[in-house]
Amino acid sequence: MEKEQFYYDNKIVKMFLIATALWGVVGMLVGLMVAFLFIFPNYMEGISWLSFGRLRPLHTNAVIFAFVGNSIFMGVYYSMQRLLKARMFSDVLSKIHFWGWQLIIVAAAITLPLGYTSSKEYAELEWPIDIAITVIWVIMGINMIGTILKRRQRHIYVAIWFYLATLVTVAILHIFNNLELPVSAFKSYSIYAGVQDALVQWWYGHNAVAFFLTTPILGLMYYFVPKVANRPVYSYRLSIIHFWSLIFIYIWAGPHHLLYTALPEWAQNLGTVFSVMLIFPSWGGMINGLLTLRGAWDKVREDPILKFFVVAITGYGMSTFEGPMLSFKNLNAIGHYTDWIIAHVHIGALAWNGFMAAGIIYWLAGKLWKTELYSKKLANIHFWIGTLGILFYALPLYVAGFMQASMWKQFNPDGTLLYGNFLETVTEIMPMYAMRAFGGTLYLTGFLLLAYNVYKTAKAGSVVEDELAEAVPLKKITSSRVQGEAVHSWLERRTVLFTVLVAVAVIIGGAVEIIPLLVVDSNIPKITSVKPYTPLELEGRDLYIREGCNNCHSQMIRPFRSEVERYGEYSKAGEFVYDHPFLWGSRRTGPDLHRIGGKYNDNWHFNHMLDPRLTSPGSIMPQYPWLLKDDLDISKTVDKINAMVLLGVPYSQFDLDKAVYLLKNQAAEIEKNLRQDPEYVKNYGSSNMENKEIIALIAYLQRLGTDIKAGQSAQN
């Protein structure tokens, strides 16, 4: 058969490459700003949009979806065209995908610092952006499937299977976790509450790691590592087994993020079992990647790109060993809520994601601009300071995590806590925070070298935007063969269409079962004394979400003697039934807040928000001076309560009618309490504090975890 000539679209790959480098610098820079906030909590001078709680989600979203996201698309658009021997299905769709994704990133970079957040980790973006993500994702999917349909290579290489798994699973996860009820343009409430919301969130959260940070990168590994080494993958058979077993097992592992919480124990155990099983496919992939370099280790010595790949795959192996280990309950009891987890994810992010992206960028720079890389030496320097950066980042945090966890758990012989003041366990690990910031600086410096190297390479070379290639088209099935065939055998030949139809059929079947389940009332053990938040507390809770307090404070006391002693009665599932969304948090940079209500007086909270170091010398919490200056926005209070009613929170008609009145009443009462302190009266006595945001936040904090106590005292 005649060969056909066609062009590969290199321009779109180039655009994604530049975006990867750009957003990589931005994402890491924000990470560094956040790291320095641990050491110098005041250096942002109380600027609201640069406070830790708002920057941390910006950092995570920027590195996951902007940096790694663009690096995935860069590699996918390059490798997919070549593996299928076809140009992408539609240039228009490619462009919409590119610019749509960049717009989403810009929208995130604006809304997150402004405090528009749903609070759910790695899914913080508010509902209009969630919808945009869905649309762009579907467009990318159409483009990918379209390319597969017009391919000139019948066989579909394993990398493409990984890309397809990413496409399908991320779509489902994103939609389920972001089901929310809008209140206004940039405010919504999760349709799930408490324990349910937590479970959906970590089902999503874990699989965002699995299907956004792992499967697509594995696909890239199966393309770029053999390409760069010019060696076939160690075992193609293993890559197939690796793929199918990995995607089957990964999706179940989410509950390991909720061990020892109020989640039912059998669900926790389910998560543990699947997480432990995950080590087999994960390590199968790691071994397959590393052994691809068998007999080519001399090339690794010469080629910085292969060095990046080796450290990346080793990092993948380390974090996928650690993951299953941390999913054992006894180890999780130590690691959870500590910096151990931060170290763990950064081995994955800096080594696996960052170094895979760097290696691919260096290789593609030469391919796209048709020249040698500007400086191999500079790439080598990047490799070494990057690797040192990873070590300086992760190792101190492992020590910090282990140390802090053991300090939390130590008792005096008389049964009191050895480190009763949480702050002692924070000041102890400050040197480690400094080392982490140093490691991060090294890593970012290395990445800046990459940006410079790519820039110089691009200057020296000349880009070929449409690259000529030729391949034999797929053999047509002759008309005599299809004469008189039934519809189904026609369909069977159209594998992709068939698959899509099957998927639709399955989803319809599933939806018919799911929707009634969602509508039917759940049966969490009810605690009768747990009541909905008052209008003022609800507004305070939204401020807690806006300021991202949940990034440093958990609201989930585990049933350990050390935690009950430190914080109070352990948390029960029934206490969170009105929490849309849940705010359990995942890291205790500061203490747990679930039983903070009534622990301190209103003045303590007032002063603490003004400057945490007034009440707690040595604290690394940011200041929140704007809470004392800004008036509470009560224009949406009634809408918010209406939304809660719609979600099934039992507010009465009286609550709705009198919402603003009730809110102002409670605010005035708290303001009156504050006046017990003469210092307050002197400084703020005439500044209409009852209208300010701080009052709502105090109301919420003083309510936290108190309902169950009210129930107990009523029983006694």
Binding site: H155, I172, Q196, V200, P232, P264, V502, G510, L517, L518
Partner: protein, 60 residues
């Protein structure tokens, strides 16, 4: 509580079923009949401009 666990199990099963069907389809279509050639085939480039690069490298 139970409802959401069932929901997630069903959603997870849907994904698993999709992948299972894909797996069966791919095996039946001969995707995995040859477990060697694909790993080597991907190493070959079909770009036609390749020659030009080597020329350029020589002249440099």
């Amino acid at each position: 509580m139970m409802t959401i666990i069932f929901t997630l199990i069903i959603a997870s099963l849907i994904i698993a079923v999709i992948f299972f069907i894909l797996f069966i389809k791919s095996v039946k279509s001969g995707q995995y009949d040859d477990l060697y050639t694909p790993s080597v085939r991907m190493l070959f480039d079909d770009e036609l401009v390749k020659k030009k690069i080597t020329d350029k490298n020589i002249t440099n």
